[in-house]
């Protein structure tokens, strides 16, 4: 009798399992961001009774290590989050499933073109981006008003060019007796993000379409490093860590601040901080191009493809991208034009001030080995900022390094 019960139960569970396709998803979002993902997954599960998405949160710093080893061991999750910048490194090694046949054309056409292009490697679609997080400029309204940086109507002056930014920052710093005019972290924020922004505004390219390789323009790299070096020798900026840069801005000690849009999850909630957010300044005659990366969903390659599972996973990741207005509460910009222009997104605080930045985002080039170049860029940038390397030597070092990485 007992045995019969067990068998019946097992059968019942077995049928239940058959009816549902289970999808495991690895994410690294925590805190305020993580909560949003979890909520979205819950909604997806409620709307799709035939699919069950199970989220497994992996520690932020550990996800790629675990993912790499899981793929190598043949037992990866069905879906994983991945920064757009990493897609070429995995796709080029056959570690990801191509998604062209699984994602609808309408969705693909809806993408901001720059982002959609970078989700491809060798012509095939390997990732479904669901946001972009560009570098933007934050300004402190209270400090700028105190420094007299206002127009006739009493509105604070928002710098449109780099020259304007520098002169405003200098004026505010001197008038208010502050330590810095602009606060920013010296590693990634300057060496990689601001570098790409300024270099692109100079008309520089990182990727050579003809040879399909990395290629920096020596002269423009040098100019970019000269610009960066000048920010520090002029005293407008000082070398500092990410935390220091943030705390200066949050405590009304820095009139301007370079950071990603992700801080929009927090800054509007800070009492006593009256701030604005806008695109980076531009070189006269250029558009305000800026660095940006994206969070994407990828489907890791398994030893044996299960088309039903891939289809279910693809359904989920496409759904997620379409519902990214909810996710944008974390500060990120949606990457589907329909979501970017939706009231659900633009109704969020201050989003109208920086939603347009999506058009000027320059993602990292789709080449293998970019990560290594990026770390080198942080190092060289820091050396320039700290006065340990001249812009000339720095430019040569970067150009040579990019060549060498590709030969490897």
């Amino acid at each position: 009798m007992k045995r019969l019960l067990v068998v019946t139960l097992l059968l019942a569970f077995g049928l239940l399992a058959l009816a549902k396709t289970t999808i495991t998803v690895w994410t690294f979002f925590s805190g305020g961001e993580g909560f949003l993902v979890t909520e979205l997954i819950k909604r997806f599960n409620a709307e799709n009774p035939d699919i069950e998405v199970i989220e497994q949160i992996v520690e932020w710093g550990q996800l790629y290590n675990k993912l790499t080893t899981a793929i190598a061991a043949g037992d990866p999750p069905d879906v994983s989050v991945m920064h757009l910048v990493l897609v070429p490194d995995y796709a080029s090694r056959g570690a990801l499933t191509a998604l062209d046949n699984y994602i609808s054309k309408e969705t693909l056409q809806d993408y901001v073109p720059e982002i959609a292009a970078k989700a491809r490697y060798d012509g095939k679609l390997y990732a479904v981006p669901f946001d972009t997080h560009p570098l933007v400029l934050y300004y402190n309204k209270k400090l700028l008003k105190e420094a007299g940086l206002v127009d006739a109507k009493g509105e604070v002056l928002v710098p449109k060019t780099w020259d304007e930014l520098l002169s405003y920052a200098k004026q505010a710093k001197e008038k208010l007796g502050l330590e810095v005019g602009i606060s920013s972290e010296i590693g990634a924020m300057m060496g990689d993000r601001l570098f790409i922004a300024y270099y692109t505004q100079l008309g520089g390219q990182i990727y050579d379409e003809k040879t399909k390789t990395l290629k920096f323009d020596l002269e423009k790299v040098k100019k970019t490093y000269e610009f960066m070096s000048n920010l520090y020798t002029s005293g407008v900026m000082k070398p500092m860590t990410y935390d220091t840069a943030e705390s200066l801005f949050q405590n009304n000690q820095s009139p301007f601040h370079f950071n990603g849009v992700w801080v929009m999850a927090v800054y509007p909630t800070l009492e006593g901080l009256q701030f604005g957010v806008t695109n980076l300044p531009a070189i006269a005659g250029s558009k305000p191009y800026t660095w940006g990366d994206s969070h994407t969903w990828v489907i890791p390659k398994k030893p044996k493809d299960d088309p039903a599972k891939i289809a279910a996973a693809a359904k989920f990741i496409e759904w997620f991208a379409k519902n990214a207005a909810e996710w944008a509460k974390a500060g990120h910009l949606p990457v589907l034009k329909s979501v970017l222009n939706s009231e659900a997104f633009l109704g969020l605080p201050m989003r109208k001030d920086y939603a347009h930045v999506a058009e000027f985002v320059v993602p990292a080039p789709s080449v293998k080995g970019w990560l290594e170049v990026r770390i080198k860029m942080w190092e060289i940038g820091e050396a320039v900022i700290l006065g340990k390397m001249t812009p000339d030597a720095a430019a040569k070092e970067l150009v040579n390094f990019a060549k060498q990485v590709l030969e490897d």
Partner: protein, 295 residues
């Protein structure tokens, strides 16, 4: 008869050891020998390894970042180990003496060791903040200019060293306390009867009798410090300008970030050899002092 009994004992010993040996074989020895094999290959984790002989080692020889990282590691060891050994010994002496608040002090010095690395590093990152951190405020109070510790090419490594010493010293204090408590009180009483002063008691009783603890603390700290990774990774990410990148971080970057598993393995092998030397040294010194005590 005696021989038979001995044999039986050995067999029994191996039987008890067997589960452990099997696990050791599967999870340690087989991966270890596999990784040794890997130092002769070029391998990007996903693809098939390609034999390149000593290619990884020739690469290492001409890789400036490898040498810089090796030097930063050694520099970290040089800066970290002496203060840990000396301070933990002195603090243990203090706690072992007849002072007040002994229990409080013992807990206060040991508690940091129970914290996780991220808590320790984030706390110190806040303290080091030149504008809002406590250290900067104290320096300002004394009319000094605050240092931007973690972005200063000179101070970044000492800042990590200070954090590490504060974090790990509690463990060494406990080792020293255990050693101190093993020294029989009668030795000191006898010395006092002979008219020995505090200095003599320290240098002829305490320090020599703690020889095994000295060796243990010194060598374990060297080996631990050679593997420095977490603090750097969290506090400076190897910066500024690569000045705090240690060998472990470089191995990690090469293996997991740039998909050069063979090369990473080869560098790890070099680090392993260095640690092996110290482990061997410890063994010899321990055996020597154990023999001495038997005499």
């Amino acid at each position: 008869m005696a021989v038979y009994r001995k044999k039986k004992h050995t067999l029994l010993a191996y039987l008890f050891f067997a589960p452990f040996l099997v696990l050791l074989l599967i999870f340690r020895l087989i991966p270890f020998f596999n990784s040794i094999r890997m130092i002769f290959y070029k391998w990007d984790i996903f693809g098939t390894p390609k034999y390149i002989g000593l290619g990884n080692f020739t690469r290492m020889m001409s890789d400036k970042v490898f040498w810089a990282s090796l030097w930063h590691t050694v520099y970290f060891v040089i800066l970290t180990v002496p203060p840990i050994v000396v301070l933990s010994f002195l603090i243990a002496l203090l706690i072992n003496s007849k002072i007040r608040f002994k229990d409080f002090l013992r807990s206060a010095f040991y508690l940091p060791y129970t914290l996780t690395i991220s808590v320790v590093c984030l706390t110190w990152t806040m303290l080091y903040n030149p504008y809002f951190g406590m250290i900067g405020k104290v320096m300002k109070f004394f009319g000094l200019k605050p240092i931007s510790w973690l972005t200063d090419p000179f101070w970044a490594m000492p800042a990590i060293v200070i954090t590490t010493v504060w974090w790990t010293i509690g463990f060494c204090i406990v080792l020293y306390l255990a050693g101190l408590q093993q020294i029989p009180a009668s030795y000191y009483e006898a010395a006092e009867l002979d008219g020995a002063n505090g200095f003599q008691k320290m240098f002829f009783i305490t320090i020599p009798l703690l020889k095994r603890v000295h060796v243990l603390v010194l060598v374990t700290q060297i080996i631990a410090s050679l593997q420095i990774f977490g603090q750097v990774y969290i506090m400076t990410a190897g910066g500024p300008a690569g000045r705090t990148r240690t060998l472990m971080q470089y191995i990690y970057e090469q293996g997991f970030r740039y998909f050069r598993m063979g090369y990473a393995q080869a560098m790890a092998f070099v680090l392993f050899l260095v640690m092996l030397v110290f482990a061997y040294l410890q063994l010899r010194l321990m055996i020597a002092s154990a023999k001495e005590e038997l005499v």
